[in-house]
């Protein structure tokens, strides 16, 4: 006999998670199965290395930044357990029209996540430095540093409406209004 995981998904936990996140039981179980696959050492949590091991994340230019956001904002001590993992993913669950939105997968929370990808010092502003960092990660050696700086300045100049040389969350949301961020960042979880 013997299940190979040291932690099992208890029935009450499962119901709790389903209620709060809006996932169905099957979806949660599949995600749990995925969590266990990633948790190679079977310790009940994922570390940065576990996530970086995924080749498609590893080669993603923003892969490390994404993992930073996940670990710092959703996990603790560089670890993320299954509950935290699934609450994170709940943000991106595509909800159907008739309010299967829970408090998690609102448009606002998605935009907030994207904002956090830039804003790592959590001062609610994207300043020039933070913008430069992200740009550099995305284009690598293909654009000269000077040109990257110019692009950053140009972007801030365009979007900064209150003159503080940085982009606040409101300005950020405003510029993403035309693009349907909610739709683009929603994932359809299959069961």
């Amino acid at each position: 006999m013997g299940s190979n995981a040291s932690i099992m998904l208890q029935q009450e936990d499962l119901q709790n998670i389903c209620q709060q996140t809006g996932f169905t039981a099957k979806q949660v179980q599949r995600l749990y199965s995925r969590f266990k696959t990633l948790d190679k050492r079977d310790c009940g949590f994922l570390t940065r290395e576990d996530l970086l091991c995924i080749p498609e994340v590893n080669i993603n230019p923003l892969g490390e930044r994404l993992i930073d956001v996940i670990m710092d904002d959703y996990g603790e001590n560089n670890k993320i357990n299954f509950k935290q993992f699934i609450f994170l993913l709940a943000k991106f669950r595509r909800g159907r029209v008739k309010s299967s939105t829970t408090e998690f997968n609102t448009r606002d929370s998605k935009l907030r996540f994207l904002f956090d990808m830039y804003d790592r010092n959590h001062d609610m502003k994207i300043d020039r430095e933070e913008l430069l960092q992200v740009l550099k990660m995305m284009v690598g050696g293909n654009i000269h540093d000077d040109q990257i700086a110019t692009i950053a300045d140009h972007t801030i100049g365009e979007l900064d409406s209150d003159g503080d040389k940085s982009i606040t969350f409101e300005e950020f949301c405003k510029t993403l209004e035309r693009i349907d961020a909610d739709d683009k960042m929603s994932m359809k979880f299959l069961s």
């Binding site: 995924i54 080749p55 080669i59 995305m138 284009v139 961020a181 683009k184």
Partner: protein
């Protein structure tokens, strides 16, 4: 003494069934006949599994009435040897990009377009350097928007939820029909007393009935191997090795296949690999060699091991010409190719069996083929697709989880190994085709036949991280996308 005679008679009586079974198995193996016991056994098992699954589903329905009843109709009937279809992805991948205006295929989910040739990506980076210098003056060409990160963020999240590579290195996901092996269940839940009883019976049958029997057969196989090696060593005729080695090998592997209760179906046997050729197959487990060798004899190629396995290698070398390398020589690709060419030149040398993936994959996909053996243009390549049916035993060897010994025990205590072997028509490299393209072509043919997903990812990713070139390539593609706006 009378008592000794009595003792010997008793031992003789006890041993007779064992010896007669051994003789029976040997005869069947030699003549390539089958009593049909295994097929019957598998059919019976199929019935039992369907029954168990029905109980499970009834229980599930009573627990959670919202579960759709489509599940019950998806139970495969035991008469069809249906191969398990791979589980649907956990999340639907995005295939459009919010800011693109070109018809760019998604960067990450479309992994089959990956460039894995080091030289090629190197070249790309140098040309970009040149371009960079000339473009530095035209700054307004690049239009960047804050929302551009959605592209990578989304793909990163999707990859975390479900990626093409990690899931190839673990046993394939839960099946619709449970086969009464706890090792295949992600979570053991207590469903009903009946199922637990069935499971317990199954456990007893597998560990206390089947396993000892299989162990005896295994010993028989080892004896045969040693016996035939001794026989050939001292046989006067020089070419005996090549003439008799073929049949001896096949008999050995047929006995071994009975050790795992393997039920093998061959397709297109007219394309069986001939002498002086190279046979290429997808790799799922060490048992692949046994499966293929029940129908044809091969020369194996590999590293010299020590210990038990080394002894096996040396013994096998008595019955056929295998190519074994010292550990240090394996890195030297030219030497390897040379030895292979020498082997092929000798007439009547058996075809060489190679698994170009280099590592075991879980039989749902075919990963990158290493180009080494495809560079040997003198020999035709005979591709073979090996497709396992997981219902009676998962043959995949997860070498990070189990070592070889544990794996063999697991195999010997599974129900059976049911496998389809598809021989494919021989392929040779075309004019102006690089060995890499040729390798891809062969891989695509095998993937198509076996119903596998064709991936360009390297099987080495099981243990190693991707090269930095790939990220650089993603960055370059993003840059290109920015430029075209």
């Amino acid at each position: 003494m009378a008592t000794t005679v009595q003792i010997f008679t008793i031992i003789g009586i006890l041993c007779t069934p064992m010896i007669s079974i051994a003789a029976l198995v040997l005869t069947l193996a030699a003549l390539n006949l089958s009593l049909g016991v295994r097929s019957l056994y598998v059919k019976l098992l199929g019935l039992v599994f369907d029954y168990a699954t029905k109980i499970k589903q009834d229980k599930e329905l009573s627990n959670d009435p919202d579960v759709s009843t489509d599940e019950s109709s998806s139970v495969p009937s035991h008469t069809t040897k249906s191969t398990k279809t791979s589980a649907p992805p956990i999340v639907e991948k995005s295939d459009d990009d919010p800011i693109e205006i070109t018809s760019q295929t998604p960067l990450i989910s479309d992994s089959s377009r990956k460039i894995d040739d080091e030289d090629k990506s190197q070249e790309l980076i140098t040309t970009d350097q040149d371009q960079k210098v000339t473009r530095s003056s035209s700054q307004s060409d690049i239009q960047f928007k804050l929302g551009d990160i959605m592209h990578f963020t989304r793909q990163g999240l999707e990859a975390i939820v479900d990626d093409e590579v990690t899931k190839r290195f673990t046993s394939a996901e839960e099946m619709a029909v449970w086969n009464l092996l706890t090792r295949t269940q992600q979570q053991h839940e207590y469903f009903s007393a009946r199922i637990t009883l069935l499971w317990f019976l199954g456990f007893c049958v597998r560990y206390f009935l089947l396993f000892p029997f299989r162990l005896c057969l295994f010993i028989l196989a080892i004896l045969w191997m040693l016996g035939s090696a001794v026989f050939l060593k001292y046989f006067p005729k020089r070419d005996a090795k090549l003439r008799y080695g073929f049949y001896i090998n096949i008999v050995l592997h047929r006995i071994l296949s009975r050790v795992f209760s393997a039920i093998i179906t061959y397709h297109n046997t007219e394309y069986r690999a001939k002498c002086g050729s190279i046979c290429v197959a997808n790799h799922t487990s060490p048992i692949d060699v046994i499966i293929l060798s029940t129908d044809n004899s091969f020369s194996m190629i590999g590293q010299k091991h020590g210990g038990f396995f080394g002894m096996v290698q040396r013994t096998l070398s008595n019955t056929a010409n295998h190519i074994w390398f010292e550990r240090s020589e394996t890195k030297d690709r030219h030497m390897v190719a040379e030895k292979m060419r020498e082997h092929i030149k000798v007439e009547n040398n058996l075809p060489i069996l190679i698994f170009p993936e280099g590592t075991c994959i879980n039989n749902t996909s075919v990963m990158m083929f290493k180009k080494g053996c495809f560079e040997i243009t003198e020999a035709p390549i005979y591709p073979v697709a090996i497709k396992y049916d997981n219902r009676f035993g998962d043959a995949f060897w997860n070498s990070t989880k189990h070592d070889l010994f544990q794996y063999l025990i697991l195999m010997m205590t599974s129900w059976a190994i049911v496998v389809d072997v598809y021989y494919l028509p021989p392929m040779t490299i075309e004019k102006d085709e690089t060995s890499i393209d040729f390798a891809r072509r062969v891989k695509a043919a095998i993937a198509k036949q076996g119903g596998f997903v064709d991936l360009e990812w390297d099987g080495g990713l099981k243990r190693a991280l991707p090269k930095a070139d790939f990220k650089a390539e993603e960055q370059r593609k993003f840059y290109e996308m920015l430029k075209t706006e």
